[in-house]
Every structure is written in C-alpha cells, then in structure tokens.
C-alpha cells in the first residue's frame, strides 16, 4: 500500500534535457532525410566528384576546425557552470558565439567565391544539394548563435538559469555533429 | 461486390480478380464475425437490474487466448493473401514477357501520344506513326508498352484490363498486356496531372486479327503485308 508511495516518480533527469533530446531526434531525421537523398542521388549518377572538386578543402577544413573548437568552448562553458564560475561561463559562451560567427563568415565568403565562379544553386544536382544542405546547416548555426547570445546576456545577471547552458550545448554539439558528416560528404569525396 | 468490377478482358485480369475475391471472402467473414460479436454482446450485456459486470482483466494468458488465437488465424489468412498475391504480382508486374509488338505511350498535359514503330518494328525511325489518344492492338497478342511522360506524372489506366501504371517523367516504365476480347475500351489517366487531368483519356481499340491487318494496311499503305503485322 504505502509501498506505492515509496515508488514516487521524482524526476531522474532534467525535463529540459529529455525535451531537447527528443527535439534532436527529430532533427536527426530532418538532416537524415536530406543526407539519405543526397547519398542515393549521388550514387545513382556519375560526375559528382568532379563537381565537388571545385569546393575548397582548405577553407572547409578551417571551418571544421572552427566549429570543433566552438564545441569545445561550449562544453567548457558548461564545465564553468558546474564550478559556479560566472566569469568562465560568460567568457566561454562569448568564445562560442564568436567562433559560430566566424564559421558563418567563412561560409559566406565560400558561398560568394563559388557564386562568382559561376556555381549557382541551380547549376546541377550536386550544387542543388550543396547549397541546400550547407544552407540549412548554416541556419542551424545561426539559431545556435542566437540562443547562446541570449544565455550570454542572461548570465550577466547571475547563474540562475545556468542549466540552460547544458541544453544549448546539446543543440550546439548536434549542429557540430551534422557538420562532421557534411564535411566528408560534400568536400572530401 | 465483385460484379461491380468492369468486365475483364485481359490475360492477367483474372489473377487480379481472384486476389480481390479472396480478400473479399476473408474480410467479409471477419466483418460478420466482429460486427456480429459487437452487436450480440451489446444486446446480451446491456445493463440489467441486479446483474453486475464480470471482473476479467484479460492480462493472464489463459484469458488472453480469446484474443490471441483469433489473431493467429488472422496471421494465417494474411500469409495466404501474401503468397497468392506474390504469384499474381510476379505475373503482372514482375517480368515483362517478350513480344515484338511494341508501342510507346507518352503522357503529356493533357493527352496520350501513341507511337507505333511501323513496319520496321523500330521506334524512332521514319516510318513511325503517331496518333493521339488512340491505341490499336490485335486481340490475344502480348503488347509491350513503353511509358514516357513529357511533363508531370500521369498514370496509364485500363480498367477493363486491370492495368494501371504510373508514368514518371525522366524514366521509362515498361508495361504489358494481352487483351482477350475485341472491343473499344476507355483509357483514362489516373494520376492528378493538372487542371486537365479530369477528361484526359484515350481509347484502346482491340481488333480481331484480320481487322487489325486491315488497320495496319491502311496506316502503312506502302509497306508489304506480313511485315506490317509483325512489326507494329
């Protein structure tokens, strides 16, 4: 009888974390749908490697480095939350934001040089996919930057909502993981 | 119910109708069983003064067999429908029998363009003939149809032959049929293809052998007989 009361279901995990993971699950399916389509379309026809060769591997590698580093600063911000280190939280968040913006800046430069070289989104199936996939990814980076910015501002007033850094981090790392796959899919093969 | 089907005039239509009627029997039986049980129970166990409900939770296996055994029967019926169905599918869509009677049907907004290869039996040569919305074939011969589209998806539908095949632009889809009865059969498009979809249709003319020869002679007067019948 009272045994049932003892089995009370106090939350084991933060609700926000469960929520974010479910959200990420659906995001995996969105990018998964695009990547699936890309893979089968690419395997179905030839000549895509030659087109991919017009992309700049050095620039993309640099951008990968930027994004990987931003993931690290993001998780360091989370570590600072654990220590109650408000300064650390703000510094690392700022690094993440700046690195995110750097990524977007480099991406924009890349786009413009590709467009100048005459590779439009409509040029061929490869470029259809290239612009759509990287574009959607860039929008996700932008959303992450905005989220981090709001946390950065909030952290000025204290660490009351600091557990959100972990949630924003989950999202930010997910965006990073997507790029980890886009990089070889589009640039290296 | 089966009598609502249009008259079947193709060699494989019977196989499809047989599957339809097999499923019809299986589902009709379950329809009567389930609906019958519902009505019976509603009547028998309507609320009566002085009679309470029985307390059964149905979680124990001994109780649950009342729903699990019927479910196993459903599974058996399913497999039956699948195996019979697999044969019919293999016959209709699985392999296209060879035939030297070929036509090309191209869907476009909003009619069918039908190309006959002419006496040389080859498409894309000078003696090809193109007609709009008219498909002429001899009875009892296998006809191979190459389906193409110029714009959007159309669907090649011959209700009397139980043939339906969507046409994808950018791909060539092969279909075939063997009409068993001379006559004139309607050939609508059955995939939404724009504002003219409703009314996009043609006619299939199935000719007896001699009438078909006659038609070929009229269409390709220059060609020698015999070759025409072989080629188109």
């Amino acid at each position: 009888m009272e045994a049932s009361v003892a089995t009370r279901t106090a939350p084991q995990i933060l609700p926000g974390k469960v929520g974010v993971w479910w959200f990420l699950a659906s995001e995996i399916m969105v990018f998964g749908g695009l990547i699936s389509s890309y893979i089968v379309a690419r395997l179905a026809s030839s000549g895509w490697s030659a087109e991919a060769a017009h992309l700049s591997v050095p620039i993309a590698s640099l951008n990968t480095l930027v994004l990987l580093t931003s993931s690290m600063t993001m998780v360091l911000a989370f570590g600072a939350v654990g220590r109650g280190d408000r300064r650390g939280v703000r510094t690392f968040l700022l690094c993440t934001i700046l690195l995110g913006l750097t990524f977007l800046g480099i991406k924009a430069y890349e786009y413009s040089s590709e467009l100048r070289a005459g590779f439009m989104p409509v040029t061929s199936p490869f470029w259809n996919f290239y612009y759509t996939m990287t574009g959607l990814h860039a929008l996700h980076v932008l959303a992450g930057v905005i989220t981090n910015l709001s946390l950065f501002v909030a952290a000025r007033r204290g660490l009351r909502n600091a557990h959100r850094v972990e949630l924003a981090g989950l999202y930010w790392h997910f965006v990073d993981v997507v790029w980890i796959f886009l990089f070889p899919l589009l640039y290296l093969t | 119910m089966m009598r609502w089907l249009p008259e079947n005039v193709s060699s494989f239509g019977g196989d499809i109708d047989a599957i339809l009627s097999l499923i019809y029997s299986a589902t009709l039986a379950w329809f009567f069983l389930t609906l019958g049980a519902i009505l019976l129970f509603l009547f028998l166990y309507r609320r009566r003064e002085g009679r309470g409900a029985t307390y059964i939770r149905g979680d124990k296996l001994s109780e649950a067999v009342w729903i699990l055994i019927p479910a196993v029967i459903v599974l058996v019926l399913d497999l039956w429908i699948d195996f019979r169905g697999a044969d019919a599918w293999a016959k209709v869509k699985g392999r296209v029998p060879s035939s030297d009677l070929r036509v090309e049907v191209t869907g476009k907004q909003f009619n069918w363009e039908i190309r006959y290869p002419g006496p040389d039996g080859k498409l894309g040569t000078a003696d090809d003939l193109q007609l709009d919305n008219e498909l002429h074939v001899p009875v009892n011969q296998v006809v191979r149809v190459t389906l193409k589209s110029k714009d959007v998806i159309h669907s090649f539908f011959l209700p009397n032959l139980r043939l339906k095949q969507d046409i994808l632009p950018g791909r060539e889809v092969e279909a075939w049929f063997q009409a068993t009865k001379p006559g004139r059969y309607e050939m609508p498009c059955s995939e939404l293809c724009g504002f003219g979809h409703s009314g996009m249709k043609g006619w299939l003319h199935v000719h007896p052998a001699d009438e078909y020869q006659q038609w070929v002679r009229e269409r390709w007067p220059s060609s020698r007989q015999g070759e025409g019948s072989k080629g188109s």
Partner: protein
C-alpha cells in the same frame, strides 16, 4: 545529473577531434581505391561524431532512455537510405 559527475577532459577530446579531421583530409589524398578512401573517411567521421556525442553531449553518462532516443533515429535513417537503393542506385536510366 551530469553536473556532479567527473568530466572527461574536454581539451584532450578536442585534440583528438582535430587529429582525426586532419587524418580525414589526408586520407582523401591517398592513392587508394576510391571505395577504400570513402570507407576510411566515413569511419573517421563516425568516430568523431561518437567522440562528440559521448563526451561533449555526455551520452557516456546517460541512461538507456536517452541512448535510445539518440540511436533509434540514426537506425531509421540508415534503414531509409538502404530501402531507397533499389529505386535509385540500382536503377539505370
């Protein structure tokens, strides 16, 4: 909650990620058969993704429920891709 647990060394993980990234770029220039290169590159990408998921996203420390939430969609995507093969990859125009 993850807050109280020992953290992995985030910087070490980062070093590994960078090393793997450089490895992937180098592999793409190797004079191997195309299929071998592609295979290697994607193995590397998978390892990188796993490193991020396990360490930065703390999946290492989570229970089976969050694991399932993360893994099931990945399996679905793989399944979807494979089921699309007959219609596109094995199909010749």
């Amino acid at each position: 909650m993850t807050l109280e647990r020992a953290h992995p060394n985030y910087v070490t993980v980062w070093v590994w990620l960078v090393v793997l990234m450089i490895a992937a770029v180098l592999v793409s220039y190797l004079p191997l058969a195309k299929s071998a290169v592609v295979f290697l590159i994607f193995v590397i990408a998978a390892v990188k993704a796993l490193l991020v998921a396990l360490n930065y996203m703390h999946l290492k420390f989570e229970g089976p429920v969050l694991w399932a939430i993360a893994v099931v969609p990945v399996l679905l995507v793989v399944g979807l891709t494979l089921l699309l093969f007959p219609d596109f990859v094995f199909h010749h125009h």
